[in-house]
Amino acid sequence: MTAADTADRVDREDARRALAAGAAPRRWGSWYVAEHRLLAMKGYVGEAVFQSFGNPLIYLFALGVGLASLVPQGVAGVSYLEFVAPALMATAAMTIAANETTYPVLMGFKWNPTFFGMNASPLTGGQIVNGIMIAILVRMLVTVTIYFGVILAFGAVPSVWGALAIGAAVLTGMAIGLVLSSYTSTIQDDRGQMAMIQRFGIMPLFLFSGTFFPLEQLPVYLQPIGWISPLWHGAELGRVATYGLEEPLWLTVTHGGYLTGIVLVGLWATRRHFVRRLNR
């Protein structure tokens, strides 16, 4: 009981009933939302599975077999395929994040305002965000794990710690997803912002984050793109896991800390924007 409760008439039968009924949603609300979102994803499960298997196969053939023949000496002491594989896993997570936190967020506020429906139930804005993110995380985890399995089959994971790259990729995806959702949850009208995100956000990250070549290959003035890019940090973290990329420990810790920090700030900002928009 807090001081605020003194004004409430909790002696009433209907008030007591309300307090009892509110207990489960207060505790589990985020999971109810996740359940809903995953059920809705079932609508495009075929597409998602195809993406999960198809994308890695296409990329790994093109890069690992095609492009790799141009770099027979490999990169930084490992084969080109080994170099590029962990970055592709992180990229797959990023792609899911970008898909799930752009249009679907605006959709939930505007075109099919399901978030308002959720908010009218015992759920809170914060729980709605949590639930959306849990569902995205589950989807990412499934896709990235499949990706990892394919890479494993290609023989591109020399280290026994390789599976940790799954965690690195998911952390990357969540960081990017939460940055995007903190912005997309403030968009009132789609005037092409989503397409801009893809073209001038996701695409450059993909190309300049040390995905296909080490960041050091870029001119010094372009390297900061990599330093701020969650994808670079995630890819490097994945490389440490899959083939034991040699880098100072502080740098590995920085990769993990940077991504975790973005996740926390992004979650805080997204929750704040949701609550504000839902409870005008």
Binding site: A21, G22, P25, L39, N112, M118, P122, N279
Partner: protein
Amino acid sequence: MPEPVISATALTKLYGQVAAVDGIDFEVAPGESFGLLGPNGAGKSTTMRMVGAVSTRTSGELAILGLDPDHHGPDIRSQLGVVPQQDNLDQDLRVRDNLLVYGRYFGLPRSLVAERADALLAFAQLADRAKSKVDDLSGGMKRRLTIARALINEPRILLLDEPTTGLDPQARHILWDRLFRLKEQGTTLVLTTHYMDEAEQLCDRIVVIDKGRIMAEGSPAQLIREHSSREVLEVRFGSDRNARVAEQIVGLGERIEVLPDRLLIYSANGEAELVALTERGLHPITSLVRRSSLEDVFLRLTGRSLIE
């Protein structure tokens, strides 16, 4: 007298400097059917959102089931059913799944939700559409599904914001029938509307609200008795002549309203006024004697009509 399920005192909501709701007082008794009647922008929806515990009041007191929504939002919402103005069913889910996921939001067990979903689909006359996509439903069906969804937690209070706006007359009557059944079962209904006939059909008690303030309160019959005459004579002389004719008929009836397209003469006996009118040598293009409605009450109270 039973304790009110909703009680508001000096309830106020400001957006910047603008008062959307400007210090209103009302109470709703359990089982009552209560209506907020007013034009668009009157503050009805804002009031509904505050009662629905999704919008924080700027000042005043508000208690829902004895609880303050500022501190007990989720608890209060666990006891509410909400039918919003804009449908927000999940179009990615099938009809029945919409009920299932919504029931889960209240922490209800899956088996119970499934049982209620089937009963509610029957109630909403949608049992044969259980597996349909939401997009394939008509507007009236979507509204009924939204109402079914709002009932999944067996709410103490059902909040309906403009429940029949945008529906054709037949769909409205089906909906009214369903709402009337709920009322008979003892569900407390709170609804906003700018349709007088809807308020008259469904509400035991109404507050007329305009510019964020309550203009009058009472049962539909009471409001009409207090703020209007028994009958109204409507006459049309053509839009260019109405105002001129109005000057010639001063003294007829209890009161005269001049609208752009017609004149309204308020009187206990409309036929008699029509006779008096023709005796003055005035011959309207069309004439109609009808009973007073809430529209007339609103016109009297605000000088404006409800639908502008």
